[in-house]
């Protein structure tokens, strides 16, 4: 890992700031005190910091690994990643999708912009990029990883495995982007 300290700081900030942020989906609810809405806005925006730290840490780790495998030049390290490993591929695709979901989360947390997207298909698209892909895809590929360790079984049709994260990612991107557009 590029920086363990950075990962620890990001984890602590995530736990501290990301627990009470759910009200960024309820800004138009008249029953909630505006002060709580303000607090949740600030905390949601604070989450952007550990998210960026994590993004930097992961990409820097990938670059370090790619260069150690012989990747040269500006982007040569990208081609030296273990893309054929379905677990690695799935995690990186989930990571990319989480970037998408995080940016739309910032839009949800902006009081004025929230009035535009509230109660529209935009929110459905946001959830499908965060929970529906970043979380679900991570769980799926980890299940594949743990199959051997926990159940003592080899995976059947191994060549078919990369299709799982690829199809999920491409399909969910089309699905979510369509929902964003529909919501606007």
């Amino acid at each position: 890992m590029f920086s363990k300290t950075m990962a620890k700081v990001a984890l602590a900030l995530f736990i501290l700031a990301s627990t009470p942020v759910g009200l960024h989906h309820q800004f138009t609810d008249p029953g909630i005190n505006p002060h709580f809405k303000y607090i949740h806005t600030v905390l949601t925006l604070i989450i952007a910091s550990p998210s960026m730290l994590t993004a930097f840490n992961i990409i820097a780790t990938m670059e370090r690994g790619g260069r150690a495998r012989g990747g040269e030049g500006l982007l040569g390290w990208l081609f030296k990643q273990p893309w054929r490993d379905p677990v690695y591929l799935g995690l990186i695709l989930a990571f990319i999708t989480f970037g998408n979901g995080g940016i739309t989360g910032i839009i949800n947390a902006s009081y004025q912009l929230n009035n535009v997207v509230h109660n529209t298909a935009w929110v459905v698209g946001h959830f499908h990029t965060t929970v529906g892909t970043a979380v679900a895809l991570t769980f799926m590929v980890y299940t594949i990883l743990l199959l051997r360790e926990l159940y003592g079984r080899e995976l059947i049709f191994k060549n078919l495995t990369p299709a799982v994260p690829l199809l999920w990612f491409i399909g969910m991107m089309i699905f979510s982007l369509a929902y964003y557009v529909a919501g606007l």
Binding site: L16, G152, E154, F157, G171
Partner: protein
């Protein structure tokens, strides 16, 4: 498209559970996320642990109050719009 990916995942997972070649289950040590022995806890580790414990306590504290309030059919704050 993503439903197809999910379907392939289910077929692969449950198919492997039933028809996958048996391999010896790994020793617990190989499942460790960090194969190196843990180093000495830093100040940051201790502070992080305290933060986690504090957050859990706060959540438990205000969850209890809210469950009580909503259980009685009340709201923590009155509606702001008429």
């Amino acid at each position: 498209m993503f439903a197809t990916g999910g379907l392939i995942f289910l077929v692969l997972f449950f198919g492997s559970l039933v028809a996958g070649t048996r391999v010896p289950i790994a020793q617990p040590a190989t499942l460790m996320l960090n194969p190196h022995p843990p180093g000495k806890a830093t100040i940051l580790d201790r502070v992080s642990l305290l933060i986690i414990a504090a957050v859990v306590l706060v959540i438990l504290a205000y969850s209890g109050v809210l469950i009580e309030l909503y259980g009685r059919g009340l709201q923590p704050v009155p509606p702001l719009s008429p």
